[in-house]
Subunit: 642 residues, 3 copies
């Protein structure tokens, strides 16, 4: 695995570039990402390009042997461009323009802006496409960041109508699919259709779902245009985009199809603070991040590239600026995060950023160097990680073991129609992932469209829309299958299936969900040693329940090796059910110490301690320790060959 860093030569005087490059190489880095926000320096006036500085920066980095990942600067169009086409910005859900002054001030549907992007990408690709220092391209930066993948602009409305006409062909088909007879929402032409925001009460969920699909497709199309230009002009270089954490505004599987490498930006502490974790988790893992945050995304984005090629493009190196609260990582965590990525098969981990920039929005975001150029804590840990990687040597590929199915449209469905506040397919996926990982399992998170062959167990935490083709392939799968609540509960157009939930999945297990209940926080339905909260389904079936609530209602249903969960299980019961499935699959459930997680790569097994206490690992006798020891300190890493 290679190490890299994000670097902004335009932020610093030219005379420090050489020294910076030298120090990068000396630190063990071999990759450097540059350029993704530099449009105002590349083209300071309309049509006048200033290549000189960038030529020199690339040359300087290249001479130190650093492979350059060059970003297209389309996330930050300069002010002169916005002033030329003020309607290129997105409108927010309230109809307000999202103007210049930060970044991502563009609407994916604006044709004028797309043409400008083609132009600047082409200019860059023509100039540097065959430069030997360029090893890869990053398209744009963090598509969708700051809610920017959806726009309610006139350009978006126009494109949405076109997209709908394409999808449905006739307006009658659309009215039928959406059920527009309800509340007299029927349209006579596609031109009558507005965006689903600013309605009196919620718009038709089918309207929303198609708008979400459309918005996602606009991102895919936008990315593909850049990828096509870059591929044409810069043969042999990887096309990469950097995804984000806990972010589902577009279909990453679809964008990933146009990438050579999927990458993501890993900020475990910021994500812990900003997302759904409990107060207790936020305190316990304050300086480490929840132990499954990074791993979940590693395993998710590996599944977004057809060959499983993936990287961490931005790795948190210290405190950040953007969460509500921003603590510092526990000493050792930057190294731990780096090696966790290695264990999941990353090609590269690139730290964000080289040197903390003392101005502007991210001035409080740490780098590998402090603003005064002294090496910061993260710099030292990167250096250590480089040594560790060398010591470990090549890890083999991640093993095929448990596959967890996740699809983006499923998360859109639960966002559009939570039915119980806060219900989220993404969170379900995370919770199941975490439960599996606590059992010591290695999990691939895959699209329902992916190949199931080779897996020993399939987990579907919550996929409301399951196509007939997927059902077919699930039937062909011969290991245990776990189906979580709400899976199969919706048709393609977000309606209830004619046969009721779980729709086509009834071909795997003969039961019908006749009624669902969402439960407020603090309400539980008790079982023997477990409790159901949040979500409870009433099931009709000739099967005998495998596990029941105390009131007799079936909660786990089984037909052969297929299980259906009729509610949101607590951690205890979920672990039990995984245990039952593991038994069927001849897999062993482990009981890892609190805060400890593991990952297998080829013949190696990595262990990571996210806790604040040292723990004792069960390293098999005779295993060869490549790093660390069986006693694993807080923030420690142990690696052995099994």
């Amino acid at each position: 695995m290679k190490l890299g860093v994000c670097y902004y030569p335009e932020h610093w005087p030219e005379n420090v570039w050489v020294d910076d490059a030298r120090r990068m190489a000396e630190m063990g880095l071999s990759r450097v990402r540059i350029g993704e926000f530099a449009w105002s320096r590349i083209e300071p006036e309309p049509g006048r390009y200033d290549w000189g500085w960038l030529d020199r920066a690339i040359e300087t980095l290249h001479r130190q042997g650093l492979g350059i990942i060059l970003g297209t600067p389309t996330a930050t169009p300069p002010k002169w461009l916005v002033d030329r086409m003020p309607d290129m910005v997105a409108l927010d859900e309230d109809g307000r323009p999202r103007g210049f002054g930060s970044r991502r001030h563009y609407c994916f549907s604006h044709q004028g802006y797309q043409a400008e992007c083609d132009r600047i990408v082409m200019a860059l690709a023509e100039r540097y496409g065959e430069h030997p220092g360029i090893v890869a391209w990053q398209t744009d930066n963090e598509y969708g960041c700051h809610d920017s993948a959806v726009s309610y602009s006139p350009a978006a409305a126009e494109a949405f109508r076109y997209w709908l006409a394409n999808r449905y062909e006739t307006i009658g088909a659309l009215n039928e699919a959406w059920g527009n007879v309800f509340w007299s929402m029927e349209y006579r032409t596609f031109a009558e259709i507005d965006l689903p925001n600013l309605t009196v009460t919620e718009a038709n969920p089918a309207h929303w779902l198609d708008f979400r699909r459309f918005s996602s497709d606009q991102v895919v199309r936008f990315n593909r245009r850049q990828a096509n230009i870059l591929r044409a002009c810069s043969p042999g270089r990887d096309i990469i985009h950097n995804f984000m954490g806990f972010f589902t505004q577009f279909d990453h599987h679809a964008v990933g199809a146009d990438l050579d490498v999927a990458s993501w930006d890993s900020y475990p502490l910021g994500f812990l603070e900003q997302f759904w974790f409990s107060e207790e988790e936020k305190r316990s893992y304050l300086r480490q991040g929840h132990p499954d945050i990074a791993a979940f995304h590693h395993d998710l984005y590996r599944g977004c590239q057809k060959h499983g090629r993936w990287s961490v493009m931005e790795q948190q190196p210290g405190p950040v600026n953007w969460a509500r609260f921003n603590p510092a990582p526990l000493p050792g965590m930057v190294r731990l995060w780096t090696l966790e990525a290695m264990a999941h098969g990353a090609e590269m981990v690139s730290y964000f950023r080289w040197r903390q920039f003392p101005k502007a929005q991210e001035q409080m975001h740490a780098g590998l160097l402090r603003p005064d150029s002294v090496e910061d804590v993260g710099g030292g840990e990167a250096r250590q990680a480089a040594a560790d990687i060398a010591a470990i040597g090549d890890a083999g590929p991640p093993p095929k073991s448990v596959a967890l199915l996740f699809d983006y449209a499923g998360d859109w469905v639960t966002q559009i129609q939570p039915q119980g506040r806060g219900f989220s397919a993404l969170r379900m996926a995370f919770d199941y992932y975490s439960a599996l990982r606590q059992c010591g399992f290695d999990v691939d998170i895959i699209s329902p469209q992916a190949d199931f062959a080779g897996y020993r167990m399939l987990i579907i935490p919550c996929c409301p829309i399951i196509g007939a083709d997927v059902v077919e392939r699930l039937r062909a799968f011969d290991g245990p299958v776990l189906i979580g609540p709400r899976s199969g509960s919706k048709t393609t157009n977000l309606s209830i299936p004619a046969e009721l939930a779980p729709g086509g999945l009834q071909q795997l297990i003969p039961l019908k969900v006749t009624r669902v209940e969402s439960l407020r926080d603090g309400v539980e339905e008790q079982g023997e040693g477990f409790a159901i909260s949040r979500w409870l389904e009433h099931v009709e079936s000739n099967l005998e329940p495998e596990i029941r609530l105390s009131n007799g209602r079936g909660i786990v249903w089984r037909e052969g090796s297929v299980r259906y969960l009729a509610g949101h299980l607590d951690a205890a019961l979920l672990r039990d059910v995984i245990g039952l499935m593991a038994g069927d699959a001849d897999m062993v459930v482990e009981d890892l110490p609190s805060g400890v997680r593991t990952r297998r790569a080829g013949m190696l097994r990595f262990a990571f301690n996210y806790g604040t206490q040292a723990q004792q690992l069960s390293v098999p006798e005779g295993a060869e320790l490549l790093l660390g020891s069986a006693r694993i300190e807080a923030a420690g890493v142990t690696v052995w060959r099994e």
Copy 2:
């Protein structure tokens, strides 16, 4: 009492209509409401009516002996109409248009839309007005739902100025009434007056109150136009509108004056979740709803029609889709709710809806049938209720016992000027109602304009504006009167009365409120075995207080049979005070078991168990049990003749 159901033939293939109608009749239903959202099917293109399907639907239902309540479709104007007059939509308080895509996308003040409503109502009335199957009309649907009774549109502003000119005649009179000299808010002409939204800080409360009155009047006028057309074209049929729960955006007494039957839409579980109930209440009554929610509205809306004619137009039949959390009713609750309506004198309970529609916004809202046409739990309970109703036979009229005064303008006053966050006249009315009902009393909720004759006790929880005529009639009343805090504290134009609060009520009890305090949550003033929270008044009087705080301040004041409460009493003290009044009136306070409530109708007494535990009722010896037994199960109903 009749049972009915809401049905949408336009949602289903014609070939199932006959079977649906047959099953309705077989289930014990004799009423069916249709048509209220069907404008796009009735008039698919401007001016082109399609009556065929509706003719056939009416015929089909009529043939099964079902009496049809036909709704005017004005809550859901079709897209082509909105596109023709885009300014017909309301603007929200922030000035954003509330566009097409759901329902209720119109401003009550838009004259063009009113003309369109006249046209479509006339067309329906002319076609079906004398059809023998049509037994009643529903005007529009749930006026004000989704905050739609207020609009900040130019049409509203224009109409408001006209309304003000009418009310005040001269601008000087308005300036004087509102106190516009304060902050130089004086106007020179009515044309200068804007709506009260988007001001720098809060607008003049008198400005707000008149805007609320105006907005209410616009609803009254809108409804009256439909009622007038329908009465003219469809003689002998009842004009009904379906009100909502805990909703005060317009004066229901005023709208009710134009109706033959007041009806409302009863969703006890959704209301429990969405309103002010405590966490503990929300958990305890999760699947039953708070025991007074439905009853409160039954008794309120009965008072909104001059002959006390009222119905439940939509009865929750299972889980709904629109609350934050949506649990399922406890088995038996649908039946219980039905019989509770009967006990309060309903003419009809109509379930919403026949069959769960698998598409669009309400796809997760249960019906009597599941989407796959199998009878759902609610269907079975409706069937049972039909049998029970037959078993009970005709209940007599609700007895005149305790009258609780509520007026809508009073709630507007506390919304406009809460003085202590969350203070609400509506909630006060509910709390007092609940306390009375827990004492076993039967309560009529009436307008201060209603006749007090025949009542044994009058309760005024919180009526800030009390007219001189009402004071006169209160003086003439010879039973105990309870006056809650803030009553009489404001003049018609929301100013402090010259004689201070309680204004004209000082003619009933000689005291002045010289100062009020609103208290934050967690602050209490202690008395002997009780506490005052939220609201505390300082009273000046020559009277001796009947009950004092520990610090000596008088909290309950008495003059003869009139009592004034100088604060927000806890449940214990409120019960004590009711007890004192009951003593004066020779009424007996009962101590009903937890979760149990009762209602008398003629010689019958109904008991309902909203708890989750069985309870023992004190059924008088010799009473004839018509339903159930003295031991009443959870969700049980017992009825006896006294």
Copy 3:
């Protein structure tokens, strides 16, 4: 100290004016503020002035010997003026106009409105400037109230560009200062610069800071225009403005430079409810206000006028209307608040208002009289205060003892870039002030630009931007200096100093802050008998820490008499550190009883009991008691000569 009252003759019939004036004088009042909201009465039509009523009102008050403070009415332009220039109103951060209907509906940058203000101020000044009854002028009213000091209007944008051009001269200098190369935010001309609102994510903090500075300068300029006109036309009269509590939207030191007397509006109960105080503090001090709220502002605003001349222009006299909850003051508190102002050297305390006005927005705001003209509780306490003031006699000037540095730009920095949610330089200043006052110290809150001579101790709770000149003067200071976290952490343009935090303050104490952590609520770092929360800094230094966390990290650093705090200390540790400093300065730390505070004025010492229990004071033997006794009751005041 004089007592006064705010009076609105335009609210009352002329025939009560004489009696009102007589009663004011009889109550012990000698000052009366009038006119500040009366534009619509002074100029009822464009250009037509109606002076008659105001002439008579002034005459009536003057004849009773009351000195009149005449307000300019520019906070409430009449509707006809707004209709003539609708773009004179401010736009809020969301771009919505902040329209007519309450007050402060103007944008400070609108040139047309400024001209109108010149005209009305000139008209008033010419008419009454030399009237013997006029002793002072109040400019406008509560600049910035309701967030009105910032506006996002086109007029503001235009003026901002002009202001920036003035400050930076070249666009290159601005781009460099702000670091606009980051995210391609570079501008080519000043005309390209927008306001910092409505950006996709947060705008550049330097952009925000300059916008905040500009907005503040617009207030200064607006006030100066009025002051200049009034000084020219009304020689010898004081120019006053009334500031607010916990309000930092403009630089009060800068506005104060144009005033003869700084005054403020003191509403201790409302401020307690609306600001950051804990639930426990809100309950404990419900009817008294936190004991340091009024004192903090007294000491702050005294520092805003170069000669230390200050007053309370509006003193809460009873319950108010505008907080979320509005309790009544404990009996005695109105008197206590009055005497606390005296102890801090106020020239006047003026109650708001004379008689409660029964209409419009503030009808629930108490006055000295009730709406029915009966003297209210506050009236009696004002009367008592007048007697007490006479009994005490002239208090000498406040002693120079401890200086606490506060600058407004510092608070803007923490608002713009909290880094940890809720972090506020203002709150820091308040917390340190409170800690000092609990030690029995007398504190001056001064600008860093103020003279440090004569003080025995300097406290810098949180001044992120510290100029080189200030550093120089701090080095010259020879008493103990306490530097709180984040002080010196930013350059003038809100970037990180080249030498890292605490920037130039490193000349006082040799250490660098290499990393900061903000901590979520509930997270603490433990020390011996204390804990650090909210904010924690990592320090690099050759010094030995004076106090360490349990984990060894230094938290208090000392070099000679200069101390640096590397985190947010709890009250215990802060008191300890103050004790260490007091030892250095030969000052004695007292341990005042709970809820008790004191203030020295000349040879007098005042003690105030904000608690609800009586307490025993340590009055020195031989001290002459001028008021009260050593046993001080709840809401009691004791004064002795030391």
